[in-house]
Symmetry: C2
Subunit: 365 residues, 2 copies
């Protein structure tokens, strides 16, 4: 198992997504653009029903099952439209007349998911984190599920507010997780979930593909009287090729998944990611109050770390210094302000150390 | 203006889609995967709201407007889900209670479009080409539009049956065209259309992006009480960046559009494409009845040419010979059988000549 994440390019890319990819993946993708498998045809140009793409998709799916340790009674789908389309698709598929969707409201993405579901059916907000500016994640006692919801939905890691569920919540209804910003950064407890989905552009690959992993008995309950592309059952029965799928994005995901495997899998990723995040949180916590993280300490994300200095002017000054040091993508989201370091699977250890060192120096001045 | 489409790779790629791309585009995309604009970050890894992607999107859109000669009162949107998602989205957006969608049924794609619309609202089939196995395109006299449809939809080029509309049909309702398999292969008469859409993977770029060009006054009529990703108005007001768009696919589309411009634009493409198709149709028509095209002669597509020999055995034999000559993707679609040559914008002239020559030799034997 390689010791550290490769990093040879000049820039440290802290972007929240689309985000940094493993360099070895980029090098393989470059070759495949011109010619894949000595076919004389590039990966963008092959029929999605031909043997070259067959191999690519089979490998991507098989690697996904291995890396994710996905049980056999779950379907693995590669869809389009990002997590955002899943917000509406989920509600349209499962909120038939009289059914309610339960939501744990922990940030910007659950806000959108809830709004989409409200257009389609009934919604029950079982936890509302907006009161403390989404600094916290609910404990079991904070959650009030409704009587018989069609599903219970939550977002496991909140890109903007930098919080995450340490463990998946308990629910008696089918549990659905938006894991866009932390997919395969740590193992998933499938026994708790009916469905997990993730937009591709953070830990999986490029923008333009959504991974949806759905338990078959839950999928069976999905409505079929919908336009074809909104039907989970059709995507499953056609093995994600009902229409032309985003071939290149799936190809790159396959390479990223193989890379995770080579790096030791999601457990090794957990250790690496925990250490990477700790390095930055330590710089916050040891700054004597100069740096402040947005999330409550007990709810801290390992992927996205938003923090502020005492003033917006100092934030701007630090951003400029970091930019000179080759650090990109550190500006905080407009709803939180300050700075944000996104340190996904493919973000290198040395980048976290470099940022932490810069933060310590800046706080001391 | 360059005289011919570049072709240096060993294989002639006749795939119906995803399909061959200009080689110069692939070479640029390879560089950008590793690092675009000397940012030290590749095109897959840049934030979709950062300056590098700003430039890419602005250029892609501006080039699209120039190449397509798109009037100012049309919005240019880059969406996801292929033409297939447009089938349902169009119907959901415009078929409110009591409204009917009119369709000219000319093949496999209109079949799916009609089926999706029927799930959502009322459908009137104003022409049904299934009786003659979709060999023909309706004349004005063959079309019976309904009284006040919300829109009149057609597919301008039928990938599978190899037919196309020589000119857009006349309709008093807003006319909506699925141009997936011929987008920007010839000029578009915008005065006749309210909306044109196209999946990316034939003439535009890779799979995973859909171009939708919508007249503003038509777009204003679209329903807004839908999940966000199904709202045309939202995609328009957010300039195709309501959620994370398929950045790489849009980037490659931008390069392809620039390439079309450098090749002389859609009028030069028309001349080139007409000559390319004629070369193959001549080989069919001069074969003394050995080769038979599927489409009626008056309705022939310039992009997709399905044809058969007298027997499936001879089809198979020809396929094998063609494969040995480095020709790929010539197997016909299962619903028509035989062979199909797809010769989109980026397919090289020399490939058409090579195929025509092989067809003549084979017919003579």
């Amino acid at each position: 198992m390689p010791n550290v994440v490769e990093h040879t390019r000049a820039t440290l890319n802290f972007s929240a997504g689309p985000a940094v990819l493993p360099e070895s993946v980029l090098l393989q993708a470059r070759e495949a653009l011109w010619d894949i498998d000595d076919t004389g045809i590039g990966i963008l140009e092959h029929s999605h029903r031909g043997p070259a793409v067959d191999r690519v998709f089979e490998e991507a799916k098989a690697t996904c099952r291995r890396v994710g340790n996905i049980p056999d009674d779950f379907e693995v789908l590669f869809l389009q439209g990002g997590a955002s389309l899943q917000f509406g698709m989920l509600a349209m598929a499962f909120l038939s007349t009289g059914r309610t969707g339960d939501y744990l409201h922990t940030g910007a993405w659950t806000k959108r998911a809830i709004a989409d579901a409200r257009v389609v059916g009934d919604v029950h907000v079982a936890f509302d984190g907006s009161n403390d500016d989404f600094r916290s994640i609910p404990e079991a006692a904070d959650i009030a599920w409704s009587e018989h919801p069609a599903y219970a939905a939550y977002c496991s890691n909140n890109t903007i507010y930098g919080t995450r569920f340490d463990t998946a919540p308990d629910a008696s209804a089918p549990l659905v997780a938006d894991m866009s910003s932390e997919m395969f950064s740590r193992p998933i407890d499938w026994s708790k979930h009916a469905m997990v989905y993730a937009g591709g552009q953070k830990n999986l690959g490029p923008a333009g593909v959504t991974l949806a992993v759905i338990k078959r008995d839950f999928l069976e309950l999905a409505r079929r009287d919908l336009p074809d592309m909104l039907r989970y059952d059709l995507h499953a029965s056609k093995d994600s090729r009902y229409n032309t799928p985003p071939v290149f994005a799936i190809y790159v995901c396959g390479l990223v998944l193989k890379w995770i495997e080579e790096m030791g899998g999601t457990e090794a990723m957990t250790a690496r990611n925990d250490a990477k995040a700790k390095c930055i949180y330590d710089a916050i916590d040891s700054s004597g109050g100069f740096w402040k993280g947005h999330a409550n300490s007990s709810c801290r994300s390992v992927m996205n770390i938003p923090f502020v200095s005492p003033t917006p002017e100092q934030d701007a000054e630090f951003l400029a210094i970091a930019a000179k040091a080759g650090m990109s993508g550190l500006k905080g989201h407009r709803s939180v302000g300050g700075l944000r370091a996104s340190v996904y699977n493919a973000f290198p250890e040395q980048g976290c150390e470099a940022l932490a060192s810069l933060m310590r120096d800046f706080a001391k001045r």
